[in-house]
């Protein structure tokens, strides 16, 4: 991608600017970015490599007054791989699958920016493992239903639903529908 200002050098900076509530994407080279004031000289420029790190700088400027919250977030540590939130923002990569759960509360803004506003998967589900996932979803639904039935004192119905849950939890697909 070439720089949208000089049309000479490649665009190494990819910025988003809010103009009248509209998100504007800006793709410029470092030189033009500085000349046009998209970034100041002191501010750390973010290249495509630390695009993510850049996103965080951007965000932290806004929430500057919430220093304690920020501090808390920075020291969040993944119990499985030991990666901290601060490290994650610096290298822009997760350390393991559990990092996703650990940093869960802070990921949506990042995903939204990287994936055109999306935060939730809508695609392939693993063929083998997916079966469990579908069952899990069913169990969840049945449990809600069971709760309702018990509250309504429809115990006969409730017993049937409880059997279905048991069957599913024993991974007996027959017990589904």
């Amino acid at each position: 991608m070439e720089c949208q200002e000089c049309h000479e050098r490649p665009a190494t900076l990819h910025l988003t600017k809010m103009v009248n509530g509209e998100k504007l994407e800006i793709h410029v080279c470092e030189k033009c970015a500085k000349e046009k004031g998209y970034i100041s000289y002191e501010e750390e420029a973010y290249s495509i490599h630390d695009l993510l790190a850049g996103l965080f700088n951007f965000e932290s400027n806004i929430s500057h007054n919430q220093a304690t919250n920020k501090e808390k977030r920075e020291t969040l540590t993944c119990p499985k791989c030991g990666m901290t939130y601060r490290q994650f923002t610096q290298i822009g990569k997760f350390g393991c699958a559990s990092c996703y759960a650990t940093f869960q509360d802070h990921l949506n803004p990042i995903f939204r920016r990287v994936h055109s506003g999306n935060t939730k998967h809508d695609g392939k589900i693993p063929k083998r493992q997916g079966k469990d996932l579908q069952n899990k979803q069913l169990v969840k639904d049945y449990k809600t239903k069971l709760q309702q039935l018990i509250e309504n004192e429809q115990f006969e119905e409730a017993a049937k639903v409880r059997d279905k849950i048991k069957a599913l939890e024993n991974n007996d697909v027959e017990g589904g529908e």
């Binding site: 990287v114 994936h115 999306n118 493992q129 979803q137």
Partner: protein, 357 residues
Amino acid sequence: MIMSLQPFINEAISPWLKEEGPNNDIVLSTRIRLARNFDKFPFPIIADKEELSPIVQLIQDEYHHQSFDSYQDLEYISMEELQPIEKRVLVEKHLISPNLAEKSINSGVLISKNEQVSVMVNEEDHIRMQLYFPGLQLEKALEQAFTFDDWLEEKIDYAFDEHRGYLTSCPTNVGTGMRASVMMHLPALTLTQKMNKMIPAINQLGLVVRGIYGEGSEALGNIFQISNQVTLGRSEVDIIEDLQSVVKKLIEQEEFARQLLVEQSELRLEDRVFRSYGTLKYSRIIESKETARCLSDLRLGIDVGYIDHLSKTILNELMILTQPGFLQQYAKETLSAKERDIRRASIIRERLKLENG
């Protein structure tokens, strides 16, 4: 050299690339890449060497020398066993990424005999499978990628979350973990300065355009790769549909631009093509940039019918064959830039003589 490696690095052109694909006058190839991880192990970026070895072990035990569908004889090659030039050759054939080439212990690649499938192990993610198809075949590529993915998944517990999808090391790949890309030869759009204007519009649709060869924004040989940027919140099918429609549009525009070039400046175009042909045929010293430009002209000349005795794959083949890794692999020694330019010219001359003979 390890014996099993030989076929992969002796031939510049992968067997699958010799087949004719749809729209192959403009689309060179289609690729689907899926990123997957094991749920139990830390990602390569943070893992110790020991933590990565069970992954390599499983891949070797379960998939080395196995076959699946038309993908025969999967061969696991460890990065540790490779010489730098051999790694470079695999990069030039797009069988591995430059990132994987930098690794050694506990990372490697599983390649099918026809080189249509390669599975990089412990690159940025534990698994990155790539499937290649000649010409424009996004639907077929996706279908095959899914089947291959299902086959791998029989033995591997993937890191998958119902809300976030396939979990990847980089947040830019999460969700589908899919990067679909189409490699296109767009000489007429480049020549008429239209490509520069189209790129921002394509970017706005969530697609990325970049040169395959060359650095930064330049696309050597007028070869561009168009791929999806977004991997989360859209299904694989939707993603390739978008990509497909943009690629079709580009094909239309390129065809139109070629037609105009032929109509409006036939003699100049013909002159350009034959000058480039002459340069390739008779040069004694040639740089990679000039090579790429001349090969692009030559390929355009074949496509519009000025030259009819050369095969269409000559562009792909010579683009790869004249890369530094291949040149040195053939020379069996390390070459300086100057020596490479001489070697490059001679390889091109030989290759063209072969076509004529």
